[in-house]
Amino acid sequence: MSIPVRPAAAWLAASAALLAVLVTAFAVGKFPVAPGDLLRSLAGRLSGTGSGLPAAVDTVVWNIRLPRVAAGVVVGAVLAAAGAAYQGMFRNPLVSPDILGVSAGAGLGATLGIYLGLPLALVQGIAFVGGLLAVAFVWRIAALVQRHDPVLVLVLAGVALGALLGAGISLVKIISDPYTQLPTITFWLLGGLNAVTPHDLAATAPAMLAGLLPMALLRWRINLLSLADEEAAALGVDVGRLRLVLVAAATLSTAAAVSLAGIVGWIGLVVPHVARLLVGPDFLRLLPASLLLGAGFLVATDTLARTVAPIELPLGILTAVVGAPFFLWLLARAGRQA
């Protein structure tokens, strides 16, 4: 099913595409920055001598665009990697990183925080903790049920808890102030990078990177979790422990990403799928491919979100509007070639 491509050329092309997306993201917007000015500003920063450009240009590049683009890179990469790991370990290409309730938990935490009028940093903190708690709860329930396939029990418990938390989110939306709080809640639930500050990024990046690390280090072994548990165990895998480590890692990074950017749907589901069509299912290549594609896709979508319309569009809407047709096109193309 994978499209045959020469590996080195493909990595080079993907990296070049990501670079192009990043440059575009820095250049376009309400205050356009010409690529030449971008280079001069960068050179000025690196040499420490100043760029000689108007102060507004440097401010836009370093204080406004950089945190936003950097957040897009990390959040996109994290969501795509977590999605790839989850699809592998749940043996199902239709799984997204919030299957165990991390988004629902974070969503309820954030909506409650907004409803109570808490400051943004606290809202993010509650969202983060809510996401972790939801998955820990699901894991605990699944551990108590021993009679069935552990993977199936995890997914079912996640779906059930997700529904319960979703009901809680709806309740808070109904009782919240429709003019001040509801738009904020709705925007948060659809995701966005517009409110990201360098401080937010610095606060959440360690958790996102700490979650990515085990996934990257254990990436070959993730392959073996896509086998039946007993098959993997007979090959020498400590299945229970490996799954726990990966679920914890994916949850930590996803919860941090969601607390920073809200619930950006679709990326964790579809980017790993696209990566698999391009490089095949082996995590040795699938994980780096998902990281690159996820980062590029989210930054590109965010750039569109702040340029296509007079108002800023929620990311979750655009990831679906841009991603779904592209995904369907790729699916049809791969189907013809197979």
Binding site: R221, S226, A234, L235, D282
Partner: protein
């Protein structure tokens, strides 16, 4: 090199499945385990592999209790070849076989050049090197079974425990796979396979064991074990044994069924 289960008792949700079953496998022999559907053949295999803890009884590897072995060490001695299945992702034949290198691969590492060479040799030995870059999801059942055997050999285990390796294969692939298993036994591998077709052990198996009512009721040369009475005990059907003119046993045939040709 041998693995042995002695006096195994096991119950599933209060229903006794195994009630004192004993079975051993040594390197260099091909053993068939015969039993009806639901007789507990797979359960006995899982217990032998250490994947399931028996309620009572002991499993030993070269005389030492299985419980003392680490999973990774055990994987280098005994390999499990599951029934051919549909994989959720299109791993290539080579990638599937490389997974067998896990016991020899460090926790944070991936298989290296030596592992790749080892797997390449195994694929060539099994005659599936030409399939190496094909997706496991797109090859035939017989080819998938060989891929899973390649993965087991990549573990460098001398004992192979196979769950219904012939199920789902067409007649030609069944014959070829039995040939292959016989040759593996000649090369020094110990192969234990389950089956429910009493005709399969008549060719090639040196030993056949019968699992009836949770126990091994007979274990020995097919010529002694496989009688019409034993098949009736196993499956509850009356059969006759067809012999060649020189006295060799050829096949079982259900009596009372009309002979058309």
């Amino acid at each position: 090199m041998s693995i042995a289960a002695r006096d195994i008792h096991f119950a599933y949700r209060g229903r006794p499945v195994l009630t004192g079953a004993s079975l051993a496998l040594s390197a260099g022999e091909l053993v068939c385990l015969l039993g009806s559907n639901g007789a507990g053949k797979s359960t006995l295999l899982r217990i032998l592999l250490g994947l399931q803890r028996p309620g009572r009884g002991a499993v030993t590897v070269d005389g030492e209790p299985l419980a003392g072995w680490q999973r990774r060490q055990l994987a280098r001695l005994v390999a499990y070849v599951p029934q051919v299945h549909v994989a959720p992702f299109p791993y290539t034949v080579r990638q599937v076989a490389l997974m067998g290198r896990l016991p020899a691969t460090g926790l944070l590492k991936a298989p290296g050049a030596a592992d790749r060479a080892c797997v390449q040799g195994i694929l060539e030995h099994l005659g599936i090197a030409h399939l190496a870059e094909r997706a496991y999801t797109e090859i035939s059942g017989g080819e998938r079974q060989l891929t899973l055997i390649a993965r087991a050999l990549a573990q460098e285990a001398r004992l192979l425990v196979m769950d219904e390796p012939l199920a789902g294969l067409d007649y030609g692939n069944q014959v070829r796979l039995l040939d292959r298993l016989e040759r593996l036994a000649e090369e020094g591998y110990g192969v234990l396979m389950t089956t429910h077709d009493p005709n399969q052990p008549l060719t090639g198996c040196q030993r056949v064991a019968l699992l009836v009512d949770g126990r091994i009721t007979a274990d020995g040369h097919p010529g002694e074990v496989l009688t019409a009475a034993a098949i009736h005990l196993l499956y509850g059907v009356h059969v006759e044994l067809l012999h060649a003119t020189d006295g060799r046993r050829l096949a079982f045939r259900p009596t009372g069924r009309r002979v058309i040709a």
